[in-house]
Symmetry: C2
Subunit: 145 residues, 2 copies
Amino acid sequence: MSHNTTEINRQLRKSGYRVTPQRQLILDAVCQLGEHVTPEAVYDHVHRIAPTLSRATVYRVLHFLTEQRILAMVYMADGRLAYEMAGPEPHHHLVCRSCDSLLELPHSVLRSFRRTMDAQYDFEIDVSHLSFFGHCTDCRDSAGA
Amino acid sequence: MSHNTTEINRQLRKSGYRVTPQRQLILDAVCQLGEHVTPEAVYDHVHRIAPTLSRATVYRVLHFLTEQRILAMVYMADGRLAYEMAGPEPHHHLVCRSCDSLLELPHSVLRSFRRTMDAQYDFEIDVSHLSFFGHCTDCRDSAGA
DNA sequence: TTTCTTGTTGCGAAAATTCGCAACAAGACG
DNA sequence: CGTCTTGTTGCGAATTTTCGCAACAAGAAA
Ligand SMILES: [Mn+2]
Ligand SMILES: [Mn+2]
Ligand SMILES: [Zn+2]
Ligand SMILES: [Zn+2]
């Protein structure tokens, strides 16, 4: 696993939460399984190691770790929910509806858009992890609208 | 109901689809129930009129009418899916995570953002109906981050 | 140590959503 | 009219996700 375990544990305990074996297992699973991991994939993975760990706990922990900004949540092209490690700097995705390819966007590309919303509507957009759907370079010409 | 029934019917038939009583009922329901209508609300409404109309059909028709761009789909603050009439001009929403208030955004505010994505990433963002989450004017001062 | 508080889990039930399939119905075509 | 094709539905089962609640466990307090 590639996440800073001790730092995360400190952060959780500092907020009054507990570092349980279940939470560690689930976090490790997301980390190992890569980008855009579904709850079911997490369950399959951890269930092999800890057979009593329930589905409800998987859903609850994924939710919880997202609230703690340790995980990030994202809607995929098919509408389902997935998770991935959050990382220190936010990033976003361009998802192609034709080929399901993923492009990663740096957070910086949203700065001017957020400023505009702030100025025109006095609304502070929370952009920790957005996905924009559309059509990528390769699919633009081949696919008719 | 306030939607142009004959125009929609023509559009569907032209594409080889059929205008069934179920589809008409469901479309009327979304239209009457207003913005951000959940599948369950649609089902409750139409089920009183047509008791044999099944939940599966509600989900299927909402999906179908969204593909046909007659309805628009939107994620609400709690993560659930909702639908509303699409209208000729796309629009978007600012959803406050504190008070659940809704601000409607004209499509024009996304033009420069789309142009940037197109120019920098050669990616054409499909923005028929987006929701951005964050904090509105009233909630920005009262709520601490 | 014992007691208390509170966060956390497992379980099973409930609710929400999707799926497969047979039956139906609209329309084309003869 | 009868026949075919194909889009559509209802039903029930399967799957996914949420909920309620009792039991558990970590840590603070006594
Ligand atoms: Mn990501
Ligand atoms: Mn809308
Ligand atoms: Zn593509
Ligand atoms: Zn607000």
